[in-house]
Symmetry: C5
Subunit: 87 residues, 5 copies
């Protein structure tokens, strides 16, 4: 899982029907000290995350499973971060 | 899932028979502000995407599942983007 | 699997309910001679690892399986390293 | 899936018995305009690809499935490219 | 699958019990002309590989399957290389 910041969302009218109703967010991954990296992706929100929030992103078949395993989802927001404590 | 732009397609006569009839597109992944990155791959279209369109690409076993799970597909175009809104 | 060092943890109140009670650690991956790399991620501890320890991180569906296969986990700490011997 | 060029092969006498008889090719991934990248890997040929040919490489559990799901294969050549057309 | 060189091993007393008895090797991935890259990982040996040998590393759920599917393994050494022939 990765720390990321929600920086936007996408609108897609023509898409796989199993994605209908899903919140397709744009996230940027965070590196050390939560500095943004160049890596961005589309992640489906599963916990009410909003723009600007720091979140946990889960990937791969595990992300698909969160939504029942049938939708074409390979990245999901699974938690909203309150605090990060690092040494 | 990743934002990408469709930049072409490939023709392959000699290929796995389960790929016959599939649209094998060349996509380049997009980074922040939708600036193209150096990453390109072959993605199978599942939603009528054309050259120049910005799309959502889904990867791994999830991409395979979109086509029934039997074809050797690990990347699929699952949506065409109308708009991207980022802060 | 990767060598990593545990450098912190995150607190998340609003998260997938299957993550409740799990220890969400921040790890930084180590390269040659155990020099820290720029790659960090969130990994769920399964063996009592503490801050500063060098650990083995396992990824993907394999990490999910460690916790029964239902929780949205794609990275897990599966061992604490005593020594690394390299030529 | 990735565009790659077949640049060689490996010989391995001591290997997992399920790999016996498989063609273990060395491939280099291609980037934009089919310029070779630094990424190379070992991919199992499933369609008679030869040295110098441009091919489609499929990865992960999908590659394993091509060979019945039992052999330790995570990368497979699934098509030989005739032409690439990009804008 | 990747070409890698075995450069060491790790000792871990406190680890997932299904890893007990496994040989946890440190491998560095090789790039073109077998030049070492900066990428290292921990890979479980399945074919008697020793320090200094060039090997084939298999990843992901495929690596897990080699050991019966229950152990937290996502990288495995599946062959020892005799020769690499590239153009």
């Amino acid at each position: 899982m990765y720390l990321a910041r929600v920086i936007g969302n996408v609108v897609s009218t023509s898409k796989n029907e199993k994605l209908i109703g899903m919140k397709l967010m744009v996230v940027e991954f965070l590196g050390k000290n939560q500095v943004p990296t160049d890596h961005t992706e589309i992640s489906v929100d599963s916990c009410g995350a909003g723009i600007g929030e720091t979140v946990i992103v889960c990937k791969g078949s595990t992300a698909r499973g969160i939504f029942g395993g049938e939708a074409p989802v390979d990245s999901a927001i699974v938690g909203i971060i309150d605090t990060v404590e690092t040494v």
